[in-house]
């Protein structure tokens, strides 16, 4: 099972994400943003957290339009898996692979805190390791995590069971407490919290490893 983790200038969770995939058993390749193609046989693309292009213009906006962005879009279009975490989630919304936007936190401050998340659906390769309704603990660290979408989009996300995670205690004002959402084919996941920071007991939790093991396992079988 092959994972490709993208590095944009300003990415700063790329190493952590690559190591979380590797720990779950994936064969990981690091991909520079100026590449125009993904490595052959890539099953899943990881778009890491950080401040791609300094978060200038809008968070994720420049990364979404970078050369590798086209390759990621093509990968998703043909049914490939994509996991975007934090800035990666922002990039996915800027690319149009996920609906909605991540606005500035309601409190107008950066917030770094370990929060409770409810697994809102186990119907995805990412969340199948939990029961729907399970509560897990995962850190957030962002300035722009306030998920916002129009009423129709929210309605559709709910109706199609595409809300992957919700906050137990909303840290950023996100609509419907949304912490992560799935694409309509359930293969693209964007989430603000950082599962790659809780994959080892020494980090204070291992809830994140469930996600990586689950998706890596599912793709290895496929």
């Amino acid at each position: 099972m092959k994972a490709a983790v993208i590095t944009f200038p300003g990415s700063n969770c790329d190493r952590d994400l690559a190591e979380a995939f590797a720990k779950a058993g994936a064969e990981v390749t690091r991909v520079w943003h100026k590449e125009t193609e993904l490595p052959k046989g890539t099953d899943i693309v990881g778009i890491p957290g950080g401040f791609s292009f300094g978060d200038y213009l809008r968070c994720g906006a420049i990364a979404a339009r970078s050369p590798v962005g086209q390759a990621v879009a093509a990968h998703a279009k043909k049914g490939g898996y994509v996991l975007g975490i934090c800035n990666g989630f922002q990039v996915l919304t800027e690319m149009g692979l996920l609906p909605g936007v991540l606005m500035r936190n309601a409190g107008l401050k950066f917030v770094c805190r370990t929060v409770g998340l409810t697994v809102a659906t186990r119907e995805s390769a990412y969340t199948a390791g939990w029961q729907t309704g399970s509560v897990i603990r995962v850190p957030v660290a962002h300035h722009d995590g306030n998920y916002t979408a129009d009423a129709a989009t929210l309605q559709r996300l709910k109706a199609e069971d595409r809300i992957a995670f919700t906050y137990v205690d909303n840290p950023n004002g996100a609509m419907a407490d949304i912490a992560g959402i799935l694409s309509d084919n359930r293969r693209v996941l964007g989430m603000m919290p950082h599962p790659e920071r809780v994959v080892d007991a020494a980090q204070g939790g291992t809830d994140g490893s469930v996600l990586f093991r689950s998706v890596v396992g599912a793709l290895a079988e496929a």
Partner: protein, 719 residues
Amino acid sequence: MTEPVITEDLIAAHGLKPDEYQRILQIIGRVPSFTELGIFSAMWNEHCSYKSSKKWLRTLHTTGPQVLCGPGENAGVVDIGDGLAVIFKMESHNHPSYIEPHQGAATGVGGILRDVFTMGARPIAAMNALSFGEPSHPKTAHLVKGVVEGIGSYGNAFGVPTVGGEVRFHRSYNGNCLVNAFAAGLAEADKIFYSAASGVGMPVVYLGAKTGRDGVGGATMASAEFDDTIEEKRPTVQVGDPFTEKRLLEACLELMASGAVISIQDMGAAGLTCSAVEMGDKGGLGIKLQLDSVPQREAKMTAYEMMLSESQERMLMVLKPEMEAEAKAIFDKWDLDFAIVGETIPEDRFLILHGNEVKADLPLSKLSSSAPEYDRPWVPTPAAAPLGAVPAIDPIDALKALLSSPSYAHKAWVWEQYDSQVMADTIRTPGLGAGVVRVHGTAKALAFTSDVTPRYVKANPVEGGKQAVAEAWRNLVAVGATPLAATDNLNFGNPEKPEIMGQFVGAIKGIGEACRALDFPIVSGNVSLYNETDGKGILPTPTIGAVGLLDSVDDLIGGQPQEGDVAVLIGSGTGHLGQSALLAEAFGREDGDAPQVDLAVERRNGEFLLANRKHIVAASDLSDGGLALAAFEMAEAAGIGLSLELAETPALFGEDQARYLLACRPEAVEALLAAASAAGVPCAQVGRFTGTDFRMGHSAASMAELSGVYRSAFEAAVG
């Protein structure tokens, strides 16, 4: 462009004293050009030359088997075994932060990160020690908000976890806030990069962001007292770009791995001037710079401006000429400027060319080695008057007085604005004592803390200096780390005043004694003087940043007490209330002497704790607020009540040194007490973690109520 004529006013405006100007005339045997005057002022100001402090800094304890490189380079280098080294330093950005808090603090973080990665280390942890004026002062809330935002904006985007620090409030900082930024990085011990150039005719390469007019004269500004013209100084504050810094980090580390670098130096205070002189001076070489090649952000910049600009995110490097193409390719990859701007020359000369003109032609070695050095007159701080009677107070009321003060309240408002977990190696986040990060890819971990109690230093500089070191040492011990080494960031008022100089001399003496007694060398540091506004100085604030090593993450003392656990006190005391947090917060008094520090007892008690960590669930050093505050914080973090047997104010709130509070499982207590008895270490059960109340003798309150005060006071005061 014609340069201004050198006049007395111009000399004074450069912060040069008349006798210093005479020294310049003697060295060069002629009147300097405007650019040369700027270069001298940049090299000779207090910030760069340490002219008032050098004599005393030399007395510090700076060596030890673990020290690979002590003070004098960009940062100190300490061996952590397995071929790895931790590289760290703390540096102030006080003056810029007061003028423009967001950018001042942000660029302070940027500067200290560069100090670390210019030596070849990837930054793995940051801290910051902040001192602000009284919460009610009209500028305080604005400064707190801006400084915290600035630190967060830079560190978070750069991608270094901020794992610790301090925030205090005192009226003496009303006109001068302190922003002391610490960074630590990790490198292979045999791949450290130093600043000394070597080889003649080697290209001098400019790396990173372009040069603008920002920060021109910044180092001189940082060496002056403030007055009511402060608003005019805003343009001397630099603007930070963490995105460029992150790319510069990655590009520099790739470049260093390529083998192309002979020496490298970040452009910090006094930018191009300081970095070029440093590399030449350390290597015994001259430097020739052709300024037309310097990447410029603004049109028509003068030689003077380019030499003194403090634009951020820039490096200067001496390159192996045969590696030029590889080196340039790395910087092209990261879309950063790479320009050959000069070369090393054999003669002792700092030659600056711009267009067809020689803008400066100075003997390079004299710029640093002949910098003035002062043995400033000083008077010892008089012994503090004895402590007056302390009124009776109910212990819960006393505790509430502390918890409702922003200096002692819960600081989540601050540290939740910092990413404390990026790099995924943080195993102890901010909030209680030292922060701890894993040494990536090994079983080891490093602990970081920053400490000083300025009230103590004011009352008794020698004991206060000792105490700052001892408290940092204890905080490392309390998480199970073996203390390795420290960095000092010495913030004081105007050294031209003998009583201020006396504070400085006393504090250095105390720091030196403590570091020697604890085998805890100072490996880097920074001095910030002239922290005065309208003639009033700050509390003397020698911040100690310190690093400890855990051989295994399993050695971490980082558990939480649970129902039925026993509270154990290590150490003894007489209930010292002089200069205590209780006096200051409950009674508005700052009198009495600082607590005495018995360094032999410190060492014995700390070593006992480390040797007996298997019996300990959680540990905290006792400092400001004594046993009561430490006990409350430990219980509060665990979400449990605590019943302390002690009821007397001095026993609860006294600030005697060399003490720790432990939480132990009931079955471990006997073994711990036996070990303590054998080691001759005072060790006693003082209470039990239980229920939902915090009880001291017969006085009690619910944890929920106290926690409410503790967790809301900071934001209520300055949020």
